[in-house]
């Protein structure tokens, strides 16, 4: 291809051209308007960066990389390019850097991208622990420190935990329900390609004048309306992450409702499908609220509106209510898919049906409903109406009931099972214990008088890491190890997996456990410096955190080396029942050569004559079949074996 052709064809050349054109267009809009109105200065770089670099350039990139080609042709009346499916599947690593509508490729794209941002966020955590290892200022000044914890939290939440679950579900859900792909494959691709925009924007905020956004991931107004330009990188980055999240959630809802295989009733769906169904409900209802809260901040900053200017009739508590109306359900957005993964992992590796399947599904729905009634428990000391604290305390504590149902049901599933302590199972067990601790400290925090004391202290930091790391991230590790053979067609190294688990389990607790002590004892969170009395614990926490961080390298090595050199995986290495394991590893390009028919529940272990799904022409488990490449970089090139 000539250079000119490359600039016209969808891809990275056109993406960079699109970004440049977008930036130029944004700059022109700002300069023209400012000179027409005679505003000084005409070249206002804050405005140019906001409009040009943060709004117009990302759209130029999305158009350039090819997310909108089909729709533009359709909308303009030009003949659309019919999908010849040559774009499906990935045959080399380069295929992952193209717009691809194959849900399996998109799943891998999501997972790798989110783990990249996980590493970035983790390195920031290491820097923070280096600074906090002893009292005083050693490595970074307070401005940089505030930026570090703000970007760390934002990346971990918006660029890792939420989207990595979308990535795992993207890969697994269509296979699990017997569908050839997601309902809207092009929307699916658009959702993925919006994600890097948010992450790159948040990382780039370090280069903004005045440093990265430094108001925490909560970005409380009026601090956030009164800080340097970096804040806008957060405000607008969240919009792209949120739009990506909403589009994916809609896609999951439609896929799960309309594309289940024959016989797959709602009560025969695996619990991971239930979990993503309920999560998607949360996302589509709640995510617009954080978009709203950040738009208010953006308008206050750029157009001098007065949403949070109390002197002009603004209301700063309104920010917190709108923000938490999303951000509390977001906690469940980050947890329910993990619940689904744990149900799959425990039942498969303990060889037993999930105990109380229907109650497990009902408790997910109960969490969704109750999850919308508790947001103000983040605001017990915020100065809101005092009486609101009581109903919020009661609903918060009631959420422990459906959560308890899940914990006890997993334990009952383990009981009398045949437990194979493989790496995914270890992480599932680690999850149960750590999440129980996080849940217990959650109950304590719900009790208002205790919360008044520990609110905004390290106790909160400990609690949030117990539920989001010991909880969510452990389920992510469990899920990645569990489906690694399916996704890559290779087996991971079991010994390294176990080593990774034990190191991270031990040093996770040594890192975050002591934070409970220093928090109750009086150490506030989000501080670059602290009183000398907390020095010993902080030194221990920092050393432990470094080893904890290093343990992740074992995971990284295991994944990369196994993906490339690991032994080939059979179609169903865990002898699991659900449909994704009844096809080859990795699955055929279009998932199923024939549509499966579901005849029973997904977890009928212990009943040899019962299978979850049947394929008309063959035995359920096609072990050792030649893999057709899809979603697996290490898989052999396409050969027609039939």
């Amino acid at each position: 291809m000539t250079f000119a052709q490359r600039l016209i064809a969808p891809g990275w050349y056109r993406a960079f051209l699109g970004m440049a054109l977008g930036f130029a267009l944004g700059t022109a809009i700002v300069v023209v308007i400012r000179s027409l109105y005679g505003w000084d200065p005409v070249w206002d770089w804050d405005a140019i960066i906001t409009v040009g670099a943060l709004i117009a350039a990302p759209f130029g990139y999305l158009i350039g990389i090819g997310c909108f080609d089909y729709w533009f042709r359709w909308a303009s009346g030009a003949p659309t390019l019919p999908e010849d499916h040559s774009g499906h599947g990935a045959y080399s690593w380069r295929d992952y850097f193209r717009v691809n509508t194959d849900h399996k490729v998109i799943g891998i794209q999501y997972i790798c991208t989110t783990f990249f941002f996980f590493v970035c966020g983790g390195l920031m955590a290491m820097l923070m622990r280096a600074e906090l290892a002893q009292p005083g200022t050693q490595f970074v000044d307070p401005n940089t420190f505030n930026g570090l914890f703000s970007v760390h939290a934002s990346l971990m939440i918006f660029l890792f935990i939420i989207p990595v679950f979308a990535g795992i579900a993207n890969y697994v859900i269509p296979l699990m329900i017997g569908a050839p792909d997601m309902a809207f494959p092009r929307l699916n691709a658009l959702s993925f390609w919006m994600l890097p925009i948010a992450g790159v924007m948040m990382l780039c905020s370090y280069f903004a004048e005045g440093g990265a956004f430094a108001t925490g991931w909560t970005a409380y107004a009026p601090l956030s309306t009164d800080t340097p330009l970096g804040q806008q990188f957060f405000t607008l980055g969240v919009q792209f992450a949120g739009a990506s999240s909403i589009a994916t959630a809609l896609n999951f809802l439609v896929t799960i409702i309309t594309m289940r295989a024959p016989g797959m009733t709602f009560w025969r769906m695996p619990l991971l499908v239930w979990a993503n169904f309920t999560t998607s409900l949360l996302v589509v209802i709640a995510t617009p609220f954080i978009a709203g809260s950040q738009f208010f901040v953006l308008l206050d900053r750029t157009l001098q509106t007065h949403f949070f200017d109390t002197g002009q009739g603004g209301d700063v508590l309104m920010y917190q209510h709108v923000f938490w109306f999303y951000s509390h359900p977001a906690v469940y957005i980050m947890m329910l898919p993990g619940f689904g993964i744990i149900s799959e992992v425990i039942s498969t590796h303990a060889r037993k049906p999930v105990f109380g399947y229907r109650m497990m599904a009902f408790s997910l729905v109960a969490i969704v409903i109750l999850g919308f009634t508790v947001w103000a428990h983040h605001m017990f000391v915020s100065g809101m109406q005092a009486w609101v604290r009581i109903p919020m305390m009661i609903t918060t504590m009631l959420i422990a009931v459906p959560t308890g149902i899940k914990i006890f049901s997993w334990l009952a599933t383990l009981w009398r099972g045949v437990i194979h302590l493989r790496t995914p199972m270890l992480f599932a067990l680690g999850f149960i214990t750590m999440f129980t601790l996080g849940g217990i400290s959650g109950i304590m925090l719900a009790v208002v008088p205790f919360d008044i004391h520990v609110s905004d202290t390290y106790f909160i930091v400990a609690h949030i890491h117990y539920v989001l790391f010991g909880g969510s991230v452990f389920t992510i590790f469990a899920g990645i190890y569990h489906w690694f053979p399916k996704m890559t067609g290779r087996m991971y190294d079991e010994g390294l997996g176990r080593l990774h688990f034990w190191l991270s389990f031990f040093f996770f607790n040594l890192t975050f456990g002591p934070m409970h002590f220093v928090g109750i004892d009086g150490m506030p969170r989000r501080v670059a410096d602290y009183a000398d009395q907390f020095a010993t614990w902080n030194a221990i926490i920092s050393i432990s955190a470094f080893i904890f961080g290093a343990s992740f390298l074992i995971f990284l090595y295991n994944m990369i080396a196994s993906w490339r050199y690991g032994p080939a995986a059979p179609g169903n290495p865990w002898r699991a029942n659900s449909i994704e394991w009844q096809v080859s590893s990795p699955p055929p390009v279009f998932n199923f050569d024939e549509v499966p028919t579901v005849v029973a529940g997904p977890y009928e272990y212990g009943m040899p004559d019962v299978v979850h799904a049947v394929f008309k022409d063959r035995e359920p488990a096609r072990q050792g079949a030649v893999a057709t490449p899809a979603g697996g970089g290490g898989a052999p090139p396409p050969v027609d074996e039939r």
């Binding site: 060889r351 422990a400 099972g417 004391h453």
Partner: protein, 361 residues
């Protein structure tokens, strides 16, 4: 045969007594309960023995600490229960090498599920009611309350005693006298916390929040800002000094004398000292970020203002009103607020410049 019938048939095949892995045990459940109770007692003992809280400096502290103890006593058995079942299952039901079998197809047990819905429900409801009662108790209005206004600003606290018509830089409280703090802010959200009192309330723009406390122990307790408020957040600390009632009265008298003395000094015009520069240094928030030995400021966000070297009044004035004009090496621009030329009056600015110039000594 539908799913349900198939399930019932399969479950009928495998009652627990026939599971060879636990058939040898006489009373597996009783043993587990025994281990669980024992472990819970040890766990409760350890968690209660740990000295979690800072010392108790107010009447409400004891109630909150007791509430926490009750929470611990309820939590430990729950955690022990989960751990006992998990560990027991892993030890007892772990697959032997080469075991390709499955567990029994148990799909649920209605009685068990009702139990683990009901008991947690009762537990959390009881705890919520207890929490509610405690909350009402610690927030109840007290007789003979003294009102103290607390004002937060980046990055310092100031205090007013409206009954004495007194502004103060430090917080001094008489022991055993109920206090109602009325908390405000001049800029962004702060949070007023004295760990020994166990109380906390945000200072919110546009609102006056209230917190009641009765200090019952003499001493110096740190006032900590716990809501991220910008660069100097981690240095936004002061002390609350709780003193005997007579000492408090003499402190009030001293403060009043100092205040009126300052006013006459300024009015007399003899020294033309104008506003108290040291007071401005603290109340304008300089001490939140800068070190200055004379003012007792030790923060390290910005340069040490006692060691500016060879500078003149113009340089100091420019550095205050336009901080980005000349940024000290090793520090970044845009960190110091740029609105001091609006916040400070001309007299205050003059006094501050003179004060800082003299500080170079």
């Amino acid at each position: 045969m539908d799913d349900r019938e198939r399930v019932q048939e399969a479950e009928a095949k495998g009652p627990p007594e026939t599971d060879p892995r636990i058939a040898g045990e006489k009373h597996p459940l009783a043993r587990m309960i025994g281990i669980g109770v024992f472990a819970s007692l040890i766990g409760i003992g350890i968690t209660l023995w740990i000295d979690w809280f800072p010392e108790q400096g107010a009447t409400s502290a004891n109630k909150i600490d007791t509430l926490y103890d009750v929470l611990l006593i309820c939590s430990v058995p729950v955690f022990v229960l989960v751990m006992t079942i998990a560990i027991y299952s892993v030890v007892r039901f772990r697959a032997k090498p080469g075991d390709m079998g499955d567990g029994p197809p148990i799909h649920g047990n209605t009685r068990l599920e009702v139990i683990w819905v009901t008991i947690p429900f009762i537990m959390v409801t009881a705890l919520a009611i207890y929490g509610w009662i405690t909350l009402d108790d610690i927030e109840a209005k007290q007789p003979n309350e003294m009102v103290v206004n607390v004002t937060g600003q980046q990055f310092t606290w100031t205090f007013q005693y409206p009954s004495e018509k007194l502004d103060a830089k430090e917080l001094v409280l008489p022991v055993d006298r109920p206090v109602e703090f009325r908390i405000k802010t001049k800029d962004v959200i702060h949070s007023f916390w004295v760990p020994q009192f166990r109380l906390k309330s945000d200072a919110v723009p546009g609102l006056t929040t209230k917190v009641r406390v009765t200090p019952d122990k003499e001493g110096d307790f740190e006032v900590v800002c716990t809501e991220l408020c910008g660069l100097g957040h981690s240095t936004m600390r002061q002390f609350a000094r709780v003193v005997p009632a007579d000492e408090f009265d003499s402190w009030i008298a001293d403060q009043k004398k100092a205040a009126s003395g300052g006013a006459t000094g300024g009015g007399g015009g003899g020294q033309a000292s104008g506003p108290d520069a040291e007071q401005i240094f603290t109340s304008a928030g300089c001490s939140g970020c800068h070190t200055l030995a004379q003012a007792g400021a030790t923060a390290k966000v910005g340069p040490d203002l006692g060691k500016l070297g060879d500078v003149d009044a113009n340089f100091i004035r420019t550095s205050i009103v336009d901080p980005n004009a000349d940024v000290t090496k090793g520090y970044k621009p845009n960190i110091m607020p740029q609105d001091f030329k609006d916040k400070l009056s001309k007299e205050e600015l003059d006094a501050l410049v003179k004060y800082l110039l003299e500080a170079q000594g």
